[in-house]
């Protein structure tokens, strides 16, 4: 995993976990990698992964079964979407809008691009 420059590592790891959930790689009620396993895989301090897991537990995305480990919460997909949507609106959209404005890109052009992107990326032939 490549870490970007500006965002706290524990949040970048949260995004990584959320993406795994949205893509269906990790499913509801499944056990996620232990704090140590994920720390080793991502080459980060286990305390950082712990902070990520605690954050996701507070958002009802992970649940902690004491003594067994962390699991994907039942409503994880819904909660990930809520959590990521707020983040996207607050952080990514203003940057995107700024470029749209500066480069004078219209919504029609954008919509066409968006539709072909979805078609190419997410529909299986």
């Amino acid at each position: 995993m490549e870490f970007r420059d500006n965002k706290a590592i524990y949040l970048q790891i949260a995004e990584y976990v959320c993406e795994h959930i949205l893509l269906g790689k990790w499913k509801a009620d499944e056990k996620v990698p232990s704090v140590r396993e994920l720390a080793v895989e991502l080459e980060v301090n286990p305390n950082t992964v712990m902070r990520t897991y605690e954050l996701l537990q507070n958002k009802d995305i992970l649940s902690n079964k004491r003594g067994i480990g962390f699991f994907i919460a039942e409503q994880a997909v819904k909660n990930v979407k809520n959590y990521r949507k707020v983040q996207f609106m607050d952080e990514e959209l203003p940057v995107f809008f700024r470029s749209l404005y500066l480069l004078e890109i219209g919504f029609e052009e954008l919509q066409n691009r968006y539709q072909s992107f979805v078609k190419e990326t997410f529909t299986n032939p």
Binding site: F3, R4, D5, N6, K7, A8, I9, Y10, L11, Q12, R36, A39, V40, E41, L42, E43, V44, N45, P46, N47, T48, R51
Partner: protein, 275 residues
Amino acid sequence: MIQIDNLNFGYKKDKLLFNNMSMKLSPGHIYGLLGKNGAGKSSLLKNMAGLVYAQSGSLSVMGFDPAKRQPGLLAQICFIPEELYLPSVKIDSYVKANAPFYKDFDHAYLSTLLAEFDIPANNKLVNMSYGQKKKFVIAFGLATQAKFIIMDEPTNGLDIPSKAQFRKIMASALTEERVIIISTHQVRDLDNLIDTIIILDDSKVALHASIDQITDKLCFKNIRNLDETVIYSEPSLSGYNALLPNYHQEDSRLDIELLFNAVITDKEKLKPIFN
């Protein structure tokens, strides 16, 4: 687990390297020890391991005074020095001669680490490259199961794959009972591994704070224009890499180099923020 109070230490009587230095290290953390050349990083680590002796002050490592060099403590310390002196023997004989000093020595773990680090088993230690020697010493040190791991510039001499391997091994080596302290100039090698930063400067601890505490109080970001709120900045391609007070509770990523330069340039500016 490690408590240092008012430590005074110097190699010459009239010139102190540490002046009334105090600090406390707790288990379950990886401390990054930073400082300019000659700031005393290695000397502090040697004090903790009982390899040099302080003029005054007290130093307690797991309840022991390291200067007394009692076996009970030495068996719990893994010290990886920057310069290595290894005997002219093969790995087998080295392990046979040295592992018995550590009652919990894990031979299976040593074999795993040697394989991960890709170290040839049949060469004599003296004939290995600096990087290979370093990897061997790290593997042996971790296999001792010591509770106190001291590493002086561990990534020096490691090739690119070994550095990634080292980070993985250290991430798995941190347990709730262990204290790991690593001195380094190669902050990018260890960036995400360290959870607490200690900066030595001017014979004192200039900063001792966890990454969470630092990013709670400070914000690291790229800005286009400087203003009076900026604590420290360096020019970058798209403006400035800046260190600001964290007014808006932003969760930014710690830039250790920027923080280090800020501390070294102007300690007084950061002091009120952390006190």
